[in-house]
């Protein structure tokens, strides 16, 4: 704990789901009906314009992990109204998502289109593939994806825009927040205990970022 943190006398109180429901109420039938079991034309169009998604998986014990994926809009491919495929590009080789999927095939996706306040949520079951016809659709800058994640869709729904409105996510003025954070080099140098000038670490990372594929 950081010495500046407000000290709690105890852990924050845990309340039951019944108590939660008592506070927020039951969803209206209209809201429940927005959950579909397949990718309709609006969801398909949204996915075709999304350059970014967050991908949640969890291991056998239920410990979750959420990982960012991004590329040109439509990088996640709709194979049919029940199936999606997400390319795997070079990353940190930790393969957390793949390891989780081997233990627990549940997956949750959140697609984001810049400028749009609503997000698209897709939940389902997933597995890795090296199917050539799937990987062929994912060639970028002359390089094929090495693997893809196939998602068998169970639930698809648009999530309302309040979170993105409150967060001012698409307001250009919000980008001023970045200046309030330390550089990636400062963070990495401290967290990894490196005795290197943080500016050098930042430059090394920037050079690595130029090799995206």
């Amino acid at each position: 704990m950081n010495s500046n943190d407000v000290a709690f006398k105890a852990r924050p109180r845990r309340i039951s789901h019944e108590e939660v429901r008592a506070r927020i109420g039951e969803p209206e039938d209209l809201i429940k009906s927005k959950v579909h079991d397949r990718i309709d034309r609006h969801s398909r169009r949204f996915i075709a314009h999304a350059p970014f998604l967050a991908m949640a998986t969890s291991d056998a014990t239920g410990l979750p992990d959420c990982s960012p994926r991004g590329d040109y809009p439509g990088f996640a491919k709709v194979l049919d109204e029940r199936t999606l495929a997400i390319p795997d590009r070079p990353g940190n080789q930790l393969a957390d998502s793949f390891r989780n999927l081997a233990e627990n095939d549940g997956i949750g996706l959140m697609f984001i289109v810049p400028g749009v306040r609503e997000v698209l949520r897709v939940n389902g079951r997933a597995y890795p593939t090296d199917e050539p016809d799937v990987l062929a659709r994912m060639r970028t800058e002359g390089k094929a994806a090495q693997l893809a994640i196939v998602v068998e869709v169970a639930e698809v729904f648009f999530h309302c825009g309040r979170a993105l409105i409150r967060s001012r996510l698409w307001d250009p003025a919000s980008q001023a927040l970045a200046a309030e954070l330390p550089s990636v080099g400062e963070i990495a140098a401290e967290q990894m205990g490196l005795d290197i000038d943080p500016a050098v670490v930042t430059r090394m990372l920037e050079a690595e970022y130029r090799e995206l594929y």
Binding site: R45, A48, G74, A136, R137, G142, E211
Partner: protein
């Protein structure tokens, strides 16, 4: 770059649509039959399409796009998501497949490979040349412009459907070819490979959608001297010249990244390039997405 508004999307065959693009605030750049343009799609992808309208029409361009079932996101976007009224960026026309003067022509098109051939055939007929077209496709329903071409040119156009008649006999075409005729062939790789096997190389011009399968010596690293800026860029064995230049901050444009479109042409002023493209670089030029170096250093005008 120029800008144009997508005015119409017209279905022209099963799995093929024509896009009519009207110049945004003035005439579009002139072009010659065989030319193509890069279209920058709203999903950030750039794709090359042959111009298949009338070169005399300076107000609009027409391109025709086949929906590739293994689309990487270009033709799928055009077919499923592109909306009329949208303003699109279009490159200036580039011609890697120009029509040379001749008294007689044999045009061979396979499927969507008909697109550059349509204005070439019109131009050849208008010039008074003897011109024939052999147009190959699975079935007439899948072949854009088949009816119009038959209606306009009659017996000069032979439609060959492989579902009914199998592959056409190119050897027979070659055997009866006037030795002075030029042969223009655009279509899938298997068709171009067959054409290259039977027609004399000096008479044959081809345009490929995808690169031919080729074998090269193993890649090695080399240096590129950018003479105008006085900088030297190292190209790794597993890296393209294009990527190395882009990473070093030289904004060289690119399109197909497979050596077929010509977007990434750069001027070479020294050293010996190893040309790996399917276009045929003119002297003093190279297509840096695929081409490398035979000499340890290249000098380019960047």
């Amino acid at each position: 770059m120029q800008r144009a508004v997508l005015e119409r999307v017209e279905p022209v065959a099963e799995g093929a649509v024509s896009l009519v693009l009207r110049g945004d605030g003035g005439p579009l750049a002139a072009w010659e039959p065989g030319a193509h343009v890069d279209l920058v799609l709203p999903n950030w992808l750039t794709r090359q399409y042959s111009l298949c309208g009338d070169p005399a029409d300076r107000d609009s361009y027409r391109v025709t796009v086949h929906h590739d079932p293994l689309s990487r996101g270009g033709s799928e976007y055009v077919h499923l998501y592109l909306r009329t009224g949208r303003t699109l960026e279009i490159s200036l026309p580039r011609n890697n497949f120009p029509l040379s003067p001749a008294a007689e022509y044999l045009f061979i098109a396979g499927g969507i490979g008909i697109t550059p051939i349509v204005p070439m055939l019109a131009s050849a007929v208008e010039a008074g040349a003897v011109a024939r077209l052999v147009y190959v496709g699975r079935s007439t329903a899948t072949m854009p412009f088949a009816d119009e071409l038959r209606a306009t040119y009659g017996d000069r156009v032979r439609i060959h459907t492989t579902d009914e008649h199998g592959r056409p006999d190119f050897a027979a075409l070659a055997a009866t070819l006037n030795p002075l005729a030029l042969v223009y062939c655009c279509g899938p790789a298997s068709m171009i490979d067959t054409a290259e096997a039977v027609f004399p190389p000096s008479r044959l011009r081809v345009e490929r959608f995808r690169p031919a399968a080729k074998q090269f010596a193993l890649n090695s690293a080399f240096l590129v001297d950018c003479v105008r800026s006085g900088r030297t860029v190292e190209v790794g064995a597993e890296q393209s010249v294009l990527d190395a230049l882009n990473h070093a901050g030289f904004p060289v444009p690119s399109g197909c990244r497979e050596g077929v479109c010509g977007s990434c042409e750069i001027p070479v002023v020294g050293g010996e390039p190893e040309h790996r493209d399917d276009i045929g670089a003119p002297p003093g030029r190279m297509y840096c997405c695929v081409s490398r170096a035979l000499s340890p250093r290249l000098a380019v005008d960047l």
